[in-house]
Symmetry: C2
Amino acid sequence: MSNPIEGPGASGGAEDPTEAALTAVEHQISVLWRRGRSVSHQLSRQVHPDMEPAAYGLLSVIRRQGPIRLTELASSIGVGKPSVSRQIAFLESLGLVSKEADPLDGRAQSIRLTPRGEEKMHQVQDARREVFRERLAEWPPEELQTLATYMAKLNAIYERDGFPKDETA
Amino acid sequence: MSNPIEGPGASGGAEDPTEAALTAVEHQISVLWRRGRSVSHQLSRQVHPDMEPAAYGLLSVIRRQGPIRLTELASSIGVGKPSVSRQIAFLESLGLVSKEADPLDGRAQSIRLTPRGEEKMHQVQDARREVFRERLAEWPPEELQTLATYMAKLNAIYERDGFPKDETA
DNA sequence: CTAGAATTGTTGCCATGAGCAACCCAATCG
DNA sequence: CGATTGGGTTGCTCATGGCAACAATTCTAG
């Protein structure tokens, strides 16, 4: 229990403000992270009853970036090719995406949303945004903007390597 | 941070600063979320081989809140009892936590860190904090504090129900 | 032109982790 | 007492992601 440098929960007491702020940020990150995880299920289920959270993420990226190759998709969400391959196969079986051979490269394939996929995503994302907006509506836009800016900064810092998330709820 | 996806009721949403800020926040949440997930393994493994990500989270809560019952622990991190039960069993086998019968309630058990668990956590959290601090060191404390505050507000809003996370990278 | 990289995507196998349901055991209520 | 509730555990299953091995194709020497 000797505590030269205090841990997050170990009320350090009179620490410097940076230390305290760090602790607070860490804590909020973990709460946010955990909450998001526990809810992603329900969100993806709206697109399709059988759809899992991971697949939703893919659809979202595809929708945003347009036709994309599998490898690119994988790297863009930081996940291995095998996972993406399987997810895409699944989504294809649901008729939400389609794979087209790239005429320039016989190996590659272009993945895109089907009209049905587009429609589904449109519905779901709209609904989600509706709730989101509804709840955050009372926030002053400046604050929201500040939040976004700081989060971007936070994200930028951890661009490639480890994220020292606390995991604590 | 312009997002081509507009909300249904967002008549002229592109010009609405709130709308823009919302979009930005959403996006940052998803980036943060994804980043944290993709890295949590490597991080906890890196600090200690036999400490799994999930277990680390539990230890962290226990350390913060002191002796706690399993059910309470489970609900505090938003996960089912079975998962926690197994994790705790694992941690016990590592000698990091101990289960004691609650004298007041024979069914319940009080879970606490063993001295060794405390020591481990101390090491691990120190290491994590080191990295964290290192990278955020240049951030003005006020900004960090603001970030923490806003994130707390954000988290509070979605206390119980769906979190409209976008999942997009 | 052809043999050997390199790359795209798929599949096999495995590990982690979470949920559901069924189950014990203690406590409490009638 | 017996019945019901509540805390924890275990069995089963599934989702997900990683690594490795593979197939098919393109690129790069020589």
